[in-house]
Amino acid sequence: MATLFQGLGLVTPLSSSNSFESNKLLHPSRTCRSISERKDGIFVVRSDARVSQLLKRRARTHDLLVTNAVATQGGSFVASTSKPGHELLLFEALREGLEEEMERDPCVCVMGEDVGHYGGSYKVTKDLATKFGDLRVLDTPIAENSFTGMGIGAAMTGLRPVVEGMNMGFLLLAFNQISNNCGMLHYTSGGQFKIPIVIRGPGGVGRQLGAEHSQRLESYFQSIPGIQMVACSTPYNAKGLMKAAIRSENPVILFEHVLLYNLKERIPDEEYVLSLEEAEMVRPGEHVTILTYSRMRYHVMQAAKTLVNKGYDPEVIDIRSLKPFDLHTIGNSVKKTHRVLIVEECMRTGGIGASLTAAITENFHDYLDAPVVCLSSQDVPTPYAGTLEEWTVVQPPQIVTAVEQLCQ
């Protein structure tokens, strides 16, 4: 189990029994990321090296990610963390993040169907009810609209609920509350009530789960003003985004994917919180920018292998923040490669890719050598048959073909 750092001044300096190079912590696909300097036991990892600037800015404006903790002993820069981290699965990473936040702040609570005694249908809340009690990990009746509204009301009156939709598609029933109340009440109350709620759940196309359990709700929620949407794709960013979402004062919708829950990765022992608004550089390159998120990241990386063998050098960015888009990371990439391919699992019509295409065209038109190409799922209710289901989502060969065409 990871050493849990309490952000409120109970930081213990890491024992340096093994010498350790910071590189060991880095996943091969994230070579661009560097570990920031430790500050108060919590460090913020950004997708590029603009770390100290960020901390300064954050310290100046909103001290969200770095708590006002007691300064650590020594104060010398401890760049290399001594422990090599621990391996876990994505759903365990989510649980770890959630558990750490619940320990840190007693106002954090969980609500959802089967989150308590059952441990969550995807085990994200396993054993939390035993540890924190039935009221903090609340098993709700099957009434999404009302318990989401209840979470919003609790958030307005001082708690920090994490509402779980057993499947993202079920949150369609909560659309009234999410759109009207979650997104709007901070505004219509003139800023008097904030809604620090996290709404999370698994979505996306699974293995023959049928049309209704395979929905992608990102496109439906993206127009709601006042909310933020993030999608996690690795255990590392799952934990970091979960913690960031809980600490955020804004309502955040965290999209997980049914097929990614069993991904294994080694993540740091130290506490870390990621930025909700930033994209993640997965693989830097020169020829083409491939923007993706969630499960399609893996299809893209698979295609990337083929592409590299064929002599291409794709730059792969996991946009992570579906609303708002990180136009800086994306823009820098476009300015470098001049070609953009968007690979997403969302529906073609009105999906995240459609919005992203519009945003890129609006902001970076002068830098494009070719029109933005967007590969999305077909506008089809996901069929049950495995072969048909396979053809509704984007597959690596299609990505390879698209890059080849784009780079002609």
């Binding site: 009302s146 318990f147 509204g149 009301g153 609790a154 219509t188 003139g190 009530f193 933020q228 990180d326």
Partner: protein, 424 residues
Amino acid sequence: MSLSTPKLAQPLPLHHRSNGSSMSFHTFTPFLGSTHKLRLIAPIKLNAHSKSTAVSVSDAVKDKKPKSAANLLISKEEGLQLYEDMILGRFFEDMCAQMYYRGKMFGFVHLYNGQEAVSTGFIKLLKKEDSVVSTYRDHVHSLSKGVPARAVMSELFGKATGCSRGQGGSMHMFSKEHNVIGGFAFIAEGIPIATGAAFSSKYRREVLKEADCDHVTLAFFGDGTCNNGQFYECLNMAALWKLPIVFVVENNLWAIGMSHLRATSDPQIWKKGPAFGMPGVHVDGMDVLKVREVAKEAIERARRGEGPTLVECETYRFRGHSLADPDELRDPAEKAHYAGRDPISALKKYIIENKLASEQELKAIEKKIDEVIEDAVEFADESPFPARSQLLENVFADPKGFGIGPDGKYRCEDPKFTEGTAHV
């Protein structure tokens, strides 16, 4: 106004349908007026399956013995306080109508005339930390809870000094200071919010160990809402977890043009409480003292941690659904009937007959309220409209939510944001 206790509707005995008349149950219900008329239009068949095993009231709300003349329900201070609050509500709403027709406010404005007894009867029993959740007919709930008339009037005029900075309008009255948690445009969407506020209160007591936290939440909504799923879902959750909430149904018999009887298979809403395991009480909502008695019990029940109560107040709105409603559908005889039961006249009569205060004292209160309202209008008139810079200010509690712009800086740091001219 008689000193009789609030009418606690009794369960309907099965055998009363034996005479075959499908209307027989109406003679037992306290509903008056419109149902007689409607009988001729559309006779309602009773559902033969409705077994009246539901008990209308729990032990907590006991049938009170009529008090003797020497033992009044309220003291002089209370009486004057109630009178003042109802007059404030009435005069304020009348002024809203005037201002609307003079073009000072726009959109949908829903007035509360006639229902003041419910708001005053309940909200005047609350502490400041207790919460009130309302619907679009929320001006008077806010006033009763303590939001200054100036703030509400400014909000209606759309000025920056309004309680929601002019961003909410008539249907979104909020006040963190007074714990008024809205103000909702869609019916029933406030009920889960109220349930959440009650949940917070229970959480504070049991998880955060704030032992003295006994804040109660009142959820106000109408008869139309009682056919909506969120109502039932929240009745279930509140009873399941014994949340400190009181569900107050302001049954004014009409949902815009839809009569409650035409929309509801079993129009007796109080009966739906026991179905979920909480007491259901019916009270005459035109009588502030009766409402107050029931409210006391329900609020105390919630404070003690015994759970929710469903209170159905039979009331009436003297005006249309909103200022845009021509109100042609309701029978003038029905309106006249309820006008005769005006809660303010009733309380006035009670106060004077029981020598709690004199006519002059009541007139003085009315004059005082007149001045408060005039001052509110003046204040609202003189207040500035929101500046453009306010446009983007409250979209996010943490404006980093607008994201990172192409230049690498957070978009909220762009000066155009504070000016309100940035395009999000």
